[in-house]
């Protein structure tokens, strides 16, 4: 029996759990900003694993994935903020956001069923932009999204009286807002990892992979490719919707700016760079691509000062340059991703002699 790669031994689980629990406290030593970066790393793990269903398993190149994130984020923002004076509870908004994102996924999926590869990528890219532009311009004649100003003062995640914003004392330990969100996100991420692993080794997951590998052969053995592709879009989009909702609540503010094309590309890069279709690889990709730019942000400036005694290059542009270079190098020397599935790894070693 194939089991999840992670949960192999009791000591392994214990160690991983201890690390995951200790992490936000260690990060807090460097300031709450690092805890927030950690939060985002896990949020992106969640997003990347959602996209992994569409791209990694079903092989549908989706460049507009951020649109579903946006749908989830704005669902939360509109239903839990002073903008409309609505303050719905989480158990109502989060499923609704996931449902709406799912609907958007089917909406995008149905006209693109016959498209593949590059063509699909172009249509999905367009879809992502359409959603963003809608959000940008839906402030007139009726002000729905408040346009480019975005929506502010969004309610944080709360269960009854327990709010995730601000510091609380739990069992004598003081937890800051970002630390509480960290634990919520880790719980969600573990859930999505389990779902991903289970889907991958299931009848539906195998059918997705078959479509990815050879659509005609998949049809010939009786797979209804239309329904299964729609299902992949819908599932991936729902995950995006949930992530969007949490993002909205965590930030307390959303604007169309957060849902630009570069975000879609970043999430796709996490999936590809980590090792497409391989769950631990995707997780690694998401964590690296979230943390690395931040490390560079804080590291590049002081490093220049130490080496040259003055700022030679603007740290912000140098950061993106190094980041881009790192991406290129990984793709050059590890074309299957940093941590590809064992089968693919073996194959690369065989052909790479």
């Amino acid at each position: 029996m194939k089991k999840g790669q992670f949960f192999r031994s009791m000591p392994g689980i214990g160690l991983a759990a201890a690390l995951l629990i200790a992490l936000p406290f260690v990060a807090a030593l460097g300031g709450q900003a690092w805890v927030r970066i950690l939060d985002f790393a896990i949020l992106y793990v969640f997003l990347a694993l959602g996209l992994n269903i569409v791209v990694g398993l079903a092989g549908l190149l989706d460049l507009g994935y951020i649109a579903f994130y946006a749908v989830g984020a704005y669902t939360w923002a509109l239903l839990a903020s002073p903008h409309f004076g609505l303050h719905w509870p989480i158990w109502a908004i989060l499923p609704l956001g996931a449902g709406l994102a799912c609907f958007a996924g089917v909406l995008l999926g149905s006209p693109t069923l016959k498209l593949r590869g590059d063509y699909l990528a172009i249509v999905t890219l367009g879809f992502g932009e359409i959603v963003r532009i809608f959000l940008n311009n839906l402030n007139a004649p009726i002000n729905v999204t408040n346009g480019p100003q975005g929506i502010t003062l969004i309610d944080p995640v709360s269960f009854g009286a327990f709010k995730f914003s601000g510091a609380t004392q739990i069992l004598g330990v003081s937890l800051s807002g970002p630390q509480k969100y960290y634990f919520l996100l880790v719980a969600l991420a573990i859930l999505v990892i389990i779902i991903n692993v289970r889907l991958q080794n299931s009848r539906v997951g195998r059918a997705w992979q078959a479509i990815r590998e050879d659509e005609i052969a998949a049809k010939a053995i009786g797979i209804n490719t239309r329904n299964l592709k729609l299902l992949a879009f819908a599932m991936g989009a729902s995950f995006g919707g949930v992530a969007g909702g949490i993002f909205s609540a965590m930030q307390g503010f959303v604007s169309p700016e957060s849902f630009s094309l570069i975000e879609s590309i970043m999430i796709l890069a996490m999936v590809v760079l980590g090792g497409m279709g391989h769950i631990p690889g995707v997780i690694l990709g998401a964590v690296l691509l979230t943390v690395l730019p931040e490390v560079l942000r804080y590291g590049v400036g002081p490093l220049q000062m130490a080496v040259f005694g003055k700022m030679l290059v603007d740290p912000e542009s140098l950061r993106m340059l190094i980041f881009g270079l790192a991406l290129v190098l990984v793709m050059r020397f590890k074309p299957a991703g940093l941590w590809p599935s064992p089968e693919r790894q073996r194959e690369l070693q065989e052909t790479g002699k």
Binding site: S202, R203, R206, Q209, D214, I216, A217, K219, I221
Partner: protein
């Protein structure tokens, strides 16, 4: 052969298919009986694969149609054809390259199983039992075509002959009534062809009707109960091998007039 007396499994009725001005199939009518090995031969471009594609729903015929197992086949629905009990292999092997051999066969069980997304997520008892049955059946089929030791290798890394076998195992996983093999012996040496021949005969013995497209005339004549010859998209003759071999039109079609 008693096969001649058994009822019809597939009936092609005046099937026609054009590509622009090219008449790939001109009102081809033929019938395959239950339990026989039926050969379909003809020179390159005679329309053999086009016939296959029409039958399995990849192409929509421009005229005529098929009756399978008593009811008409829906055109343009390859997934439904598999559900009805028609399985096929491809002339240029089409495997799921980045999946293991075992997974390839497991995918073949898709059409005979039913677990959905919720089953996959919650792994309830019924889903687990179905999953175990799929795996067991796939392992059995790999044994059946004798590539069980390659079960965990990626399909793309298998040798050419093993890939052919894997494709047959995958097709068999759909529990077909009719197994259509598109040039299974292409590119094989004499030994491999001999092994393939044993495999095909075994499959028939186990109750599956076989439609065989093949270039290797010797293999076809030795293996098939009846043979149909296509030339320029038209049916030349449909009869037992002994008669077909002596037919003047067949000799002309193959050797050139």
């Amino acid at each position: 052969m008693s096969a001649n007396l058994s009822p019809l499994l597939l009936e092609a009725k005046a099937v026609a298919k054009h590509f622009g001005g090219v008449k790939a199939l001109q009102e081809v009518s033929l019938s395959i009986r239950r339990g026989e090995i039926y050969g379909l031969i003809g020179p390159n471009g005679a329309g053999k694969t086009t016939f296959f594609n029409c039958m399995t729903g990849l192409y929509v015929p421009d005229g005529g149609g098929f009756v399978f197992d008593g009811t008409p086949l829906v055109a343009d629905a390859p997934d439904k054809a598999a559900g009805r009990g028609i399985a096929r292999t491809f002339q240029n092997i089409r495997l799921f390259g980045n999946m293991t051999a075992l997974e390839n066969v497991m995918v073949g069980r898709h059409v005979r199983t039913g677990a959905g997304v919720l089953g996959a997520m919650f792994r309830n008892a019924a889903t687990r039992a179905e999953e175990a049955a799929i795996r067991q059946r796939a392992i059995d089929l790999l044994h059946y075509v004798r590539i069980e030791e390659r079960a965990d290798d990626l399909a793309r890394n298998l040798s050419y002959g093993d890939q052919r076998r894997l494709e047959i195992a995958r097709a068999l996983a759909t529990d077909p009534k009719l197994l259509c093999l598109d040039e299974p012996a292409a590119g094989m040496n004499a030994t491999e062809t001999e092994q393939l021949r044993d495999l095909i005969e075994g499959i028939r013995r186990d109750g599956t009707t076989i439609l065989l497209i093949e270039h290797d005339v010797k293999l076809v004549m030795g293996l098939c109960d009846r043979v149909a010859v296509l030339d320029y998209g038209a049916l030349v003759i449909e009869d037992v091998p002994a008669v077909v071999q002596k037919d003047q039109r067949v000799i002309e079609a193959y050797l050139g007039a």
